[in-house]
């Protein structure tokens, strides 16, 4: 049995389900956002070492000990029943439920894609993943993580006035009540005049890396797929392709040099992950520069725009556990 943990509206799961069906492996798709309000989990540890790991959902019962592979895609967080209304009670339920889930997942003797929560959380940290990439031999930009205003101008000068700033971690916030975003920003002298505000939050400072193309590399187990994203024709998306100017951004499959391909697979494995989305830049001089790894990063747009068979690879990886039994 394959267990897919994700929001039931997740279109990416829909891309893999038909492939799993063709492979003849039974699948349960469940969202932990259903727990504990609409689902029940019982973990029983007997004195003789026997275990009973049961998940009861609105659609059926699953013996979790029969699960051979788990795809932890984008599950939503535990949700208390609606009429548990007192805020501290809701927080209490969240807290207890998350602990139960972490424990349950630890007891399932299955292969995980990309991993249980903890390895993913560690790999997601940009400081850790940049340092790890450098130690594996990736070229990385000279990088400063800081909230010291005094660091800003020297970094700007070292970068010859072409310095970019990035968030340490993505999040949401508002300005005057409206949702705002922070994209990779090429700094101007105006940014320097507000250097004092740097003391309020750590940021990432890097010299602007000239791009021939940006690359999103998807690693599934030991398979590596690379897509080039050429945003140079778009003024909107040139510095950060997440501006999505699809009329002017070109996507194509990309053949990585063998050493870069190998390093991508090593990086993912070094975090005990079985999946990773790695962002690289290929400079006009042909150098591959590491930017970051997103341990549960998006791949559906890569497959849709390049035809790379990533959904097949994910389905095969998940099914392999069942077939190996």
């Amino acid at each position: 049995m394959i267990l897919i943990l994700s929001d039931l509206r997740d279109d990416t799961v829909e891309m893999v389900l038909p492939k799993l069906k063709r492979l003849g492996v039974p699948v349960t798709w469940w969202d932990s956002g259903d727990y504990p309000a609409r689902s029940r989990i019982t973990l029983a540890l007997g004195a003789d070492g026997a275990r009973r790991l049961m998940l009861h959902t609105a659609t059926g019962t699953l013996d979790l000990s029969t699960v051979t592979a788990v795809w932890r895609r984008r599950p939503t967080g535990p949700t208390p029943a609606a009429h548990v209304s007192e805020p501290t009670h809701r927080t209490h339920v969240d807290w207890q439920a998350q602990f139960l889930l972490d424990g349950a997942w630890d007891l399932i003797p299955a292969r995980w894609l990309p991993s249980r929560r903890e390895p993913e959380r560690r790999a997601h940290n940009k400081i850790i993943n940049l340092a790890r990439a450098a130690s594996l031999g990736f070229a990385v930009p000279e990088t400063v993580f800081t909230n010291d205003p005094a660091e800003l101008v020297p970094a700007y000068e070292r970068a010859g006035g072409r310095l970019v700033a990035k968030q340490i971690n993505s999040d949401s916030f508002t300005v005057d009540g409206a949702d705002h975003r922070t994209y990779t920003t090429v700094l101007t002298r105006r940014h320097l005049t507000s250097r004092h505000l740097l003391q309020h939050e750590p940021v990432i400072l890097q010299p602007y890396v000239p791009k021939a193309v940006e690359l999103r590399v998807i690693v599934v187990g030991d398979r590596v797929f690379a897509a080039e994203i050429d945003a140079q024709a778009s003024r909107t998306a040139r510095e950060d392709w997440r501006h999505y100017d699809d009329d002017r951004v070109r996507y194509a499959a990309h053949e990585l040099p063998e050493d870069v391909r190998r390093r991508c697979a090593e990086l993912v494995a070094s975090f005990e992950l079985t999946y990773g989305a790695i962002d690289l830049i290929r400079t006009p001089r042909g150098e591959y520069v590491f930017l970051e790894i997103n341990p549960n990063g998006a791949w559906a747009f890569v497959e849709m725009r390049t035809g790379l068979p990533i959904s097949d690879a994910i389905a095969e990886w998940l099914a392999r556990g069942a077939r190996d039994e």
Binding site: Q167, D176, T185, S194, L197, E201, D245
Partner: protein, 327 residues
């Protein structure tokens, strides 16, 4: 540095730190800076407002004349407790024009989309540039607008959008998010551009008429346009609809300025059949029935003025520096 100038600098910093840093408060900030400038005439203070795209946050600089010559630029952002990247963030939809259900349309995509829908004579790009060219021309126009100017501009604007009563106008304003004050201001802008256009047309009309006289002959003509070649020996044959005609045809009988006729008929002599001629995928056959030479009357001069203005605008657009930021 004299003590006076040092004190002025300190006062300038205090001013900058007190100004509200939101786009909708800039006018208030300008007034404050103007009052401050009046109190410190020796430094000829000017406030520079830096309106960043995609955010309501603005920055200010204050330019001052140094006692020994040269300019001193002051900038003095205070610590308002906003983390640096949030201070420099942009609205999530910056660069987006409209979101419809799950589709977020960027400005670039919208303009491309409109281009494909536009007519052959004018793309939305040209139309936008034309409006900007005219805006350039009225930038320094501070001549007061008369009530008649405003009323005529408002009437023309409303007629153009089918807003025939107050309720329809108010509904339109609500749909586009325009307050009554903003609408009044907007109509003021329309009136200025309209006045410029009218004056330019009047200025160019008689010279243009003299140079393109035959284009303003009054001409009565008949022409057929359809998918098949239609032969005719005389204008009279064109006026009769034969029973064997199949498919959709368009017959036009009308009086026009010669320059507004289909191109093959513009210079044709009365009584002569022209065509069939292939034109935009259809076949045109026609004849001029009557041609009267152009007069110097008001109607002809107005038409010459409109044509002259169109030519002037095309030439002005050709010379303009145009940069599409998002294309």
């Amino acid at each position: 540095m004299s003590g006076d100038f040092g004190a002025t600098l300190a006062a300038g910093v205090a001013l900058l730190r007190s100004l509200p840093r939101r786009r909708d408060q800039v006018e208030w900030a300008r007034k404050e800076a103007a009052e401050w400038g009046a109190e410190h005439p020796a430094v000829a203070a000017q406030l520079v407002v830096d309106e960043r795209p995609g955010t309501p946050v603005v920055d200010y600089d204050l330019l001052l004349t140094h006692p020994d010559g040269g300019t001193v630029a002051l900038t003095a952002p205070a610590d308002e407790g906003v983390p640096w990247l949030i201070e420099h963030s942009t609205h999530w939809a910056a660069g987006q024009l409209v979101s419809v259900d799950e589709v977020h349309l960027s400005v670039a995509q919208a303009l491309t989309m409109l281009r494909s829908l536009s007519n052959r004579d004018s793309t939305p790009h040209d139309e936008i540039v034309d409006q900007c060219v005219i805006l350039n021309e009225v930038l320094s126009d501070d001549e007061p607008l008369t009530t008649e100017d405003l009323q005529a501009a408002a009437d023309e604007f409303r007629r153009g959008r089918g807003l025939y009563d107050r309720a329809a106008t108010l509904a339109w304003m609500e749909r586009v998010g325009m307050s009554p004050a903003r609408f009044e201001e907007y109509i003021g802008g329309v009136a200025r551009r309209r006045r410029f256009r009218r004056r330019k047309e009047a200025e160019l009309a008689s010279g243009y008429l003299a140079a393109h006289r035959s284009r303003f002959d009054r001409v009565r003509a008949v022409w057929w346009a359809g998918p098949e070649r239609r032969m005719a020996a005389s204008p009279a044959e064109l006026l009769a609809v034969p029973s064997e005609v199949t498919g959709e045809i368009q017959v036009t009988i009308g009086e026009r300025w010669a320059g507004d006729l289909p191109e093959p008929l513009r210079d044709a002599a009365p009584g002569t059949v022209v065509g069939p001629v292939e034109r935009e995928g259809r076949f045109l056959t026609g004849a001029v029935l009557d041609r009267r030479p152009a007069k110097d009357d008001a109607e002809t001069l107005a038409a010459a003025g409109r044509a002259a203005f169109a030519d002037w605008l095309t030439e002005r657009r050709r010379r303009a520096s145009v940069e599409w930021h998002w294309l």
